[in-house]
Point group: C2
């Protein structure tokens, strides 16, 4: 007969399990580690089995998925936990204070590759379900787990698997813990992500570089044209000038602006942290609004002509740029590509030809602040962290979230247990053990709170 | 007792002498060739001595200058011939059809490094003075020769020598043959050169590259600012927007525009040659006017962020550009630097700092079409080439010409005997032997025509 372990014993065991998983160098990008990635999948499956579930290790053309589910609870919503057991490569190795796959605790945090991204965060939901099952024998709602091994290489096989398994994965709400709190002691629920549309623009002028003295002024300079085209994308108010760009933008609501304004965020501190003397951007919006909830246009790369030392009097034959727009709901990246192409072509002077390459596009997502699931998550976090969470958005894109929304029609709860200084993707990645346990407690509460929504 | 050789004999001898000089690999940029450079200086001095002059080989911190002069002719103007006996490196050697220092005649042209730049063109004036001295025992005016050995490495020691020898070099008109005819069969007098002001602009934003999703929109992007600043330099009419830029510009005269319009030049052929579908530039001016006689702003180099394959969602920490203005008389490059700095700084948004590096500046020069020396040169060329020359300007800069004008207060006659396809600075450099002799005949006539001006 099972009995629940005391909290402290359970936490010690949960820490030991995390250390065990962190010792497996499951680097998905490196084929030398294929066996390790497999080993990590098996470790996760074994954990599910120990919880009393019947895990599946599902082969893909790449690394396997691990799937498990608790029994259905009729009349209650279904939650799907998504996470990943693979990790980033640990390079540069020399910068690690302790080896990346020998987890070491310092100042209450465990240092290891994958500690926060995503082994530690992902495990909180396994531990919470294990704890509830151990204590009560059942969950108040059905939880499905989909844990993949290719997140760090762009999840190439996840989308097709989801599309082919809509019934299996059917759910009402998706829980993802693979991000950060707003700040230490300020837990957060992320309810929106920006989308993206990324382009490369290539301009060709004369068939070879020319002397800028002999030819300058008479021959169209592709670098001059590039500067002009790029500058034409944004106006003096920081607004994007591509026709139709704002047509479908969902404006920030008054409540959102109030929530953001209440956050412990200071432009001055942020500027000091980045080493800048101030900020600029779309007129009429605060820094967090600009970063999270307004569309942008950023040049990501630029090249033309002579980049070496000193002076070379060349009129370059070519010029190019990479630039991208961050999109907010309900902007359509495909429509943008069309409008952008026309907008740029219309400005092209004789003497230069252009090619616009569309790299990738993904729409933004946002869930209504009034959502019952967001409210449930907030209540659960309050129980786990002893603090009401803030509601934030994220300026980046998580393409798989868009896939979930599109394919499963479910709402996604982004519940980050990490911290901004966790060194994700960098040497000395860490995860605070207190947050590991708080996250687990919040997850325990989450199943109850989600069950209460119906 | 000397007698003048018949033209054919003299021409054969002149060709043999040219071949001799071309066999000396006087590559000034390559210290392995120091002895060869010295050898070429001695060859030139020996030629002056053979003409009956008393040459000086003048040591400099680099390669020597060769100086010689014919006797003073009171009441007549003094002409100073400037040329150079050093040559560009011959690389890439593999692309030469015959070795660069084994002069070979094909299709009436001699192929060798330095054939047109400048040994062949420079020698025409030595041969003409030799011929006149041989035939008549004296010249109708005094000719001074200043032949240097460092033109291909930027003439570092020539300016100081001129400044220190103003009396020795005192003259009314300077003759330089180191350029090209307008087209085959269209000899030209170049009466203007553009100046230059060359800059590098460096913009710094955050202390390191940032994620364009998490930070984009809220953090000033130096690449966006760079595009905006560069685009702000030129307006929709192709006019430069730096305040005061046109204040001192000497406009094209009606006669100049008529002369240019008469030239055998076709936009369509020029476009085909460059591989472009048309031209753009300052509204209201034709292509040759834009290239020769109007100021310009050309970006020479651009860099920022990610330049590799594919997409990287980076908000770059830095962005930079090299750009230059071609100037026309009487624009002042120093004043421009000041105005430019202010103009750019005034546009700089918070979050980015700028550094403007002033590489070099030189004013443009132009001599009045009504000048008696230009008229004399035109008459001389008509006699040497059997065709009246056209009057053209050149878009590039020849800094030493500015030095001559400034230090000696003399007018400069740029009488190019070469052709556009002579492969100057490239493999298979050549010089048409018929132009070598026509140039020499024009030079013979030049001394008479110049003497007639007073």
């Amino acid at each position: 007969m099972k009995t629940a372990a005391t909290p402290t014993e359970r936490e010690s065991q949960a820490e030991a399990e995390l250390m065990e998983l962190l010792r497996i160098p499951s680097v998905s990008a490196d084929s030398k580690h294929s066996a390790d990635v497999r080993h990590a999948a098996e470790w996760v499956a074994k954990k599910f089995a120990a919880m009393g579930l019947k895990p599946e290790i599902i082969a893909t053309p790449g690394h396997p998925l691990v799937y498990a589910e608790t029994p259905a609870v009729p009349g209650k919503p279904i939650a799907l936990v998504y996470g990943h057991y693979d990790v980033q490569p640990p390079d540069p190795l020399a910068e690690w204070i302790t080896p990346p796959f020998e987890p070491t605790v310092r100042n209450g945090a465990v240092f290891a590759r994958g500690a926060t991204d995503d082994k530690g965060q992902m495990l909180t939901h396994l531990q919470s379900v294990a704890a509830v099952l151990a204590a009560q024998g059942k969950l108040p709602l059905q939880v499905k787990f989909l844990i993949e091994g290719e997140e760090e290489v762009g999840s190439p096989n996840l989308g097709p698997f989801i599309a082919a398994n809509l019934d299996k994965l059917a759910c009402d709400v998706i829980v993802v813990s693979d991000s950060s709190q707003f700040a230490p002691g300020v837990p957060a629920v992320t309810y929106g992500l920006r989308g993206i549309a990324y382009y490369e623009l290539r301009l060709c002028g004369p068939k070879q570089d020319l002397h800028s003295g002999t030819f300058g002024g008479g021959v169209t300079n592709p670098a001059n044209v590039l500067a002009k085209l790029l500058a034409s994308l944004v106006d003096e108010q920081g607004r994007i000038r591509v026709p139709g760009f704002y047509d479908d933008v969902v404006p920030l609501s008054g409540r959102e602006r109030e929530e953001f304004a209440r956050l412990p965020f200071s432009d001055a501190k942020f500027a000091a942290q980045l080493g800048v003397n101030g900020f600029s951007g779309e007129v009429g919006y605060a820094t967090l609004e600009r970063r999270w909830a307004r569309p942008t246009c950023d040049i990501n790369g630029l090249w033309s002509g002579y980049q070496g030392e000193g002076a070379k009097t060349v009129l370059p034959a070519k010029a190019g740029a990479k630039f991208s727009f961050r999109l907010v709901p309900k902007q359509d990246p495909h429509q943008l590509t069309e409008n952008l192409q026309q907008y740029l072509e219309a400005q092209l002077p004789p003497g230069v030809t252009m090619e616009l390459i569309d790299f990738h596009g993904a729409p933004g997502v946002v869930f209504p602040l009034e959502s019952k699931y967001l409210e449930a998550a907030a209540n659960a976090i309050e129980q786990g962290f002893g603090k009401r969470p803030v509601f934030i958005r994220e300026g980046g894109s998580i393409p798989i979230v868009g896939t979930f929304v599109r394919e499963l029609g479910a709402e996604v709860l982004l519940l980050g247990w990490g911290l901004d200084d966790d060194n994700t993707h960098s040497p000395n990645e860490k995860f605070c053990l207190a947050d590991y346990h708080r996250g687990t407690r919040a997850s325990v509460a989450l199943w109850d709170e989600l069950a209460k929504t119906s």
